[in-house]
Symmetry: none
């Protein structure tokens, strides 16, 4: 069975946003053994959508449509679909109830535009959207499946996971693609590729490997093709075991794991807690941590001391220490970590101090110079790093490196 993806809306056509939805959908379809024949981004006009539907139908069995079903006037998809399938728009009562609840819960009235979001072509099956007010719609006509979804990424993903992927998997029979992603931190892509070269060359034909870089992290994605899910899974597992011997410290997790989540689990296992003093990372480590549900069980808190004055007053760093060594120094970052650990009464503390850029560099401290300290009751260490020269990436890489240092320490102790 072949699938096509149609994305409706001008944002992509004028280059304002990059189409990340389609890549996500394609990956998900691949995972259940479905091949994507074409991805099309089209404008929100009735004639264009109609011709795109006809073209897609001529090539594929499953047509997934995103976008064009918001409450505003520039969204015309639903009307076109009702004409295309020759089916009246009717109010879907469950959706209307959900919409009414959605707005009244927030203390808002349901206006006509909200009300009309419950209109759907009579011939479709409604797929509930728990993240928003525009439901998904499933049509089966002439042995072809058409599905319409909102374009907002988290709404689309919710409907795909809950309704569409299970149904399509069911229809697609035996052919399977097994994907597994290994998450690594701290080794640049080209060096990693060199280290993995001979292992990679020896991979079986039906197991593909892709390098997917993020700032400071490289994800290694295995895709295994065959008929038996369990066989593929154990073959990939064997390869990951070999991989762990080659890069034992770099692998921190799999698939949707996060460094903060993995580190938190290690702290939980030890019934230990942590705190942070952030200068150059400016709250990003705390944000990574507090994005993990339940992190309050192991995270005591953070202090973002973005000025020397606040380092002195909040963290009791002696003014002369900053004067002598500068705020971006081993001495200061160690004091920050020690003092924040005591301040929050935590078992572990990390601290960062560096030059995120674009300004602030001095002769011996170029943009990207970052000191990271890690302190526990028994031990205090600090390391210096030189990252890139882009503010955003410096913040991300410093934060990840700091979390990985704590993770490795927790693993060894």
């Amino acid at each position: 069975m072949k699938a096509e993806i149609i994305t409706i809306g001008d944002e992509i056509l004028i280059g304002q946003i990059i189409d990340t939805n389609s890549a996500w959908i394609a990956t998900q379809l691949n995972a259940i053994g479905l091949d994507v024949a074409q991805i099309s981004s089209i404008s929100d006009t009735p004639a264009h959508l109609t011709s795109a539907l006809n073209e897609a139908k001529s090539r594929a069995d499953i047509i997934l449509i995103t976008g064009g079903i918001g409450p505003t006037k520039d969204d015309r998809t639903k009307k076109v679909l009702s004409q295309y399938f020759n089916s009246e728009l009717i109010i879907h009562e469950d959706t209307l109830k959900f919409i009414t609840h959605f707005f009244t819960q927030r203390g808002l009235n349901v206006n006509q535009l909200n009300h009309d979001q419950a209109l759907v072509p009579e011939c479709c099956e409604v797929l509930s959207n728990e993240q928003g007010t525009a439901p998904g719609m499933w049509f089966e006509v002439d042995n072809k499946i058409f599905v319409s979804m909102p374009g907002v990424p988290y709404e689309m993903k919710g409907i795909m996971k809950k309704h569409i992927l299970p149904r399509l998997k069911n229809k697609n029979g035996n052919s399977v693609i097994y994907h597994k992603t290994v998450l690594t931190q701290g080794i640049p892509e080209s060096i990693l590729a060199e280290q993995l070269s001979s292992w990679e060359d020896a991979l079986p034909e039906h197991i593909h490997l892709a390098y997917l870089p993020n700032p400071g992290q490289i994800r290694l994605r295995f895709s295994a093709f065959g008929n038996n899910y369990d066989t593929l899974k154990s073959e990939v597992f064997n390869e990951i075991t070999k991989l762990q011997e080659i890069i034992p410290e770099a692998i921190f997790g799999y698939d949707n794991d996060t460094l903060a989540g993995v580190t938190g689990q290690l702290l939980l296992n030890k019934k230990a807690s942590m705190a942070i003093a952030e200068s150059c990372t400016g709250g990003y480590i705390a944000h990574q941590i507090t994005s993990v549900p339940g992190s309050s069980e192991w995270f005591k808190g953070s202090v973002v001391t973005y000025s020397n004055q606040s380092k002195i007053s909040l963290l009791q760093i002696p003014a002369q220490l900053i004067e002598k060594h500068g705020a971006v120094s081993e001495q200061v970052v160690l004091e920050m970590a020690k003092n924040v650990r005591e301040l929050f009464n935590a078992d572990y503390a990390i601290a960062t101090s560096g030059i995120a850029g674009p300004t602030g560099e001095s002769e011996n401290k170029p943009v990207g110079t970052v000191w990271i300290a890690l302190v526990s009751k028994e031990k205090a260490t600090a390391q210096k790093f030189n990252f890139a020269n882009n503010r955003e990436r410096n913040i991300i890489r410093s934060s990840q490196t700091a979390l990985n240092l704590l993770r490795l320490t927790l693993l060894k102790e």
Copy 2:
């Protein structure tokens, strides 16, 4: 004149890479007044490319093709193009010379695969590629333009800038498209659409409006079509002036502005500073702020007090106040803001306390309940909000709402 973009190759169809080429090309075409009708990613098979060319030709005047012209066996585009245009593949001497020079300069031999990169359909005009070995090809048939380019981003961009954009600009005459995006915060999409309805209906035919939602923000994008850039710009400016009268508090910026950046500029203008006490936002407000270059000039710092204990010890919140009202309460969030302002010796302070979810709710405080306080030397206010039920979005919306409250206060004072 209308254009279409066709991207050839499996990387995009399996979701391995995101199609950033098309967004870049679309932006460039828009800048010279060319509308993009469709973007299609297709597989590298002769039948698929042929049908995609036919479909594109039926809608557009200019068809830009990327990918499929590398030296390897899975790249079949050139052969298909020669058949499509009924034209023999011949060796292009200048390209062969360039390829030979390219390899011998690097001390490499020119093999058959490299040699064949100089093969082009006889009817095309060759567009030199200074960054690689596959040249661009320009075809003009039946008043339609077809251009084939390599898929490697910097090679494609080189050929676009040097050859294609100047030629297309020349062909397209005076026609221009002007885009401007207005950024709003705090009004849900459906309510905004209702408020703007009659103004939107009265927009001139040649000015289009699109609603682009982000969590907690709606971007309103104007696209104006015409012959004179300055006229379009002033017409859009007039419409924005009307818009400002309808939603004076919601508009915080334009195009690439950020709430943190705009708020920082207001503080700078007043030579004022700020600090934050974050509970439910867990460092995200600080991260938004410290992502702005130069924010150390107006941002003193933040305290992430993720436990009651740290609210008591770091922010001197009386334990009995938390016991009596709960941490998520008007009384506590006001104390947090007052005390953090003094702690950092800042002019303004904001504080957040809420239930980000998925756990932590109580009878009267469902997930999404958030208290935000704003304190200056003269004034202390707190407001309660009810956001969505997703942790990530609760954090984002709470952070943006807090920053917007500060922005509005700074504007009024």
